[in-house]
Symmetry: C2
Subunit: 145 residues, 2 copies
């Protein structure tokens, strides 16, 4: 079940890394992160750029530059992040890929799938990056292979 794309995985990992740090206000050097997480620097840069454009991160250039949370990690839900990384329709897509699938013109999987999908959405909507980050730190969970 590849729920998210490779760039989605990378973005999520990077932000979990940031959120697992004690200091939530801190700016993170992208090069350091790409080294630690073993993700291509330029590729990660691009992914984080998107998150900056979408108002989840802020960035500064120059020496000691980097990226940091714009909102606090408590206010960023997993759902919001995933939507930013994978597209706004992430939680609305038809399992069979049929355009315009919905209550009016449901596919055979629609009702069934909507239940599962909404469940996931609720879960992701009520989970903050801070939660996941704190857990990561306290339990020393790994973000690398």
């Amino acid at each position: 079940m590849r729920v998210i794309s490779k760039s989605g995985e990378y973005g999520l990992r990077a932000l979990l890394h940031m959120a697992s740090n004690q200091d939530n206000e801190r700016f993170f050097n992208i090069r350091e992160m790409s080294d630690e997480l073993d993700i291509s620097f330029h590729f990660l840069t691009k992914i984080l750029q998107v998150l900056t454009q979408k108002g989840i991160l802020q960035s500064y250039r120059g020496p000691n530059g980097g990226v940091g949370f714009l909102k606090s990690a408590e206010e960023i839900t997993l759902a919001e992040l995933v939507r930013a990384l994978e597209g706004d329709d992430f939680f609305d897509k038809c399992l069979l890929g049929l355009p315009g699938c919905g209550e009016r013109q449901p596919c055979p999987m629609h009702a069934y799938w909507m239940g599962i999908r909404n469940n996931l959405k609720d879960e992701f909507e009520t989970t903050s990056l801070a939660d996941l980050g704190k857990n990561t730190r306290l339990q020393h969970l790994r973000l690398i292979a």
Copy 2:
């Protein structure tokens, strides 16, 4: 949420189409299906070939040839079909794509994601193609755009 690939979508749609037919024993002409479902003939052929190789379908060549269920649609679970289409590890993959993620070396999302994943697996495991097909037929649900 792109849970399944394009070829997975096509395979699922084709088999739902077959399962929604009254006659479960029938053989279906691939060309007719590709026309009705608006899927590339050769591409669909390839997808169904895989299902034939995996023992879900059987096929016959020649005039009036086609593909039909090997087991009855009652015995084919959605989980089995999706595994055949998307790979056996479909319900086991790490959300962050980390190899070897598991109880011993969990990623930050592991426990969380495992819950959601297993839920989906249970749902898919207890849903048969026949169920979905019957529903499709009785409610005239659409399998095309």
